[in-house]
Amino acid sequence: MTTEAVALGKGNRSLMASAMAGQAGPVTLVLLAVIAIWYAGAVYMNAPWEIDRFEKHKIDWSAGDLVRATMMQTRPILPAPHQVLMEMNNTIFQKKITSKRSLIYHSWVTLSSTLLGFAIGGILGILLAVGIVHNRTLEKSLMPWVISSQTIPILAIAPMIIVVLGAIGLKGLVPKAIISTYLCFFPITIGMVKGLRSPGVLEMDLMRTFNASRWQTFWMLRWPSSVPFLFTSLKVAIAISLVGAIVGELPTGAQAGLGARLLAGSYYGQTIQIWSALVTAAILAGLLVFLIGVIERVVLKKMGARQ
């Protein structure tokens, strides 16, 4: 394994002089280093068990045998990256989408509640921010609670919401979406309050000289100037919305979804399954944030913002 990593490192180092200037080169190299460390860790952590096995069966073994063996375990302590990739390939591309073993199926379960929660939370958050900006009493009484609610470990409530809503007949998508909603509307509220307040005194005065109504000021000044803030908080919100959906899947006893895969994997000691679910979740989160970024760029461009 080490030979492989060193070779990769050397190959990149020759290119490095030109790549050093940008960000892509360093990022790739750090990524490669992470993978190398991962391989090293896999060998180190899985080796004791393999050595035990060799001794027990009285097999002569060399270092090469050991390294090879540590990467082919079915239940390794730390699976090697290629094992995780193979498992992902197996469960994403080789299985039918409708199959319960397909990671696409589980991702879709998680993604649907993430998106539903995100949509509701987004609308709620924006409405709350509009209320807070336009009503002094609401601001004074509600804002401290919105801020202090950030310091509370909200995820702890997740199991209760799931079980209690399950008791009154609400199962599946909606309870998980409620957790996501709850998690993601706070950052949106805070970001939007900031954004709706971002027009300066000059702009507000100009609106007043135009004799603009509250509604016109909102629609033509406050709302457009809050859009960049909205997208920044949407990125944060969709990431924690996904976390909420994953944690929301834990208490239902591992039925479907990425969280369920994590839990089932930890019940049965299937480390490769845990890691592949984890990597899938990470990819999903990255994709969602990236998607919002793309929408942000398009919308801001249409609004005529300078990039």
Partner: protein, 377 residues
Amino acid sequence: MIGRWDGFGMAALVFSLLALLLPLASGETTLAWADRSTSLIIVLGFAIVGGLVAWRGVRGLISALAILFLVYLATLMTMQLLDNGVAGSSSWGFWSFILALWALTWRGIASVAAYQTLNKNHQRLVAFFVPACFGFWLLFLWEMVCQGFGVPGVLLPPPSAIFIKLIASLDILWADFVQTFMKAVISGFAMGCASGFIIAILVDRVPFLKRGLLPLGNLVSALPIVGVAPIMVMWFGFDWQSKAAVVVIMTFFPMLVNTVTGLSAAGALELELMRSYGAGYWQTLFKLRLPAAMPFVFNALKINSTLALIGAIVAEFFGTPIVGMGFRISTEVGRMNVDMVWAEIFIAALAGSAFYGVMALMERTVTFWHPSYRTKN
């Protein structure tokens, strides 16, 4: 003329008069307001005050506070009414009065919130009083809805029941708190933040690493890191060490990214001044760059204080010894002891806010020079 009348006062008047006409409780025993003479007087008084407010508006802080005090008396009365046969069989009259209460509370809070003064202590008092009133009102409404409609405790226990449970099981809650907070959160938080801080200083020395690590660090903050919990439980066992490991991973990256950003916060002018003094790397680091980075470091500490508690609690959902906040929440939910779950959540909220508060306080003492703490005049 009507347009000048105070809407909330009008609502209070209309709803309290309406309340008097409607039955207080229905079902097995029908109760009317007339059966309870003291309540009758209070509701009548309410109608009068509502009318006065509607007619004259609220002028000054004293009258606003007086209104809120009257509302407080009325809430005590409605609590008593609940104990005397209204619980579970509340009717339109009761809810109509609650609406009247809401209207006057809102008018009172709004008047206090609109109060403007130059006295700093008074400002602080108002800034505390308004949200406190609002919170109290929400708790009251929660209690009313639970008891008035007779919501089963399995679904949503009223705050009073949660409080009773909290007092009764302080020893269990304390043991959970020690296991989760004192052992897992504090040690994980300390290790995660310290390592993030030290690695950040190392990374800062190597521009190459800085360019390579920062984008990745930013990416990691968007990933669902809590997911590593089952792996950590597998590696480090069921006890608090595995939870601390999750906390370390969760707190490491925010600290790393923030500190690296903070280390480049020192201005070019100050840096050149240090150079003109002939200061070396370490002197510049300790005397200028680290102090300048402190606002960013404390930002990370504050973010991490919340993340740490979440990480530890969620990690306990994946397996723990028979003690700990996350363990208690997941098992008591399974046994439908929802009041115990709420008590635990209350403790978690308290611990989270206190932890955050301590960080904010430390920030205030360390970065007292920062513009955001300058007193406004």
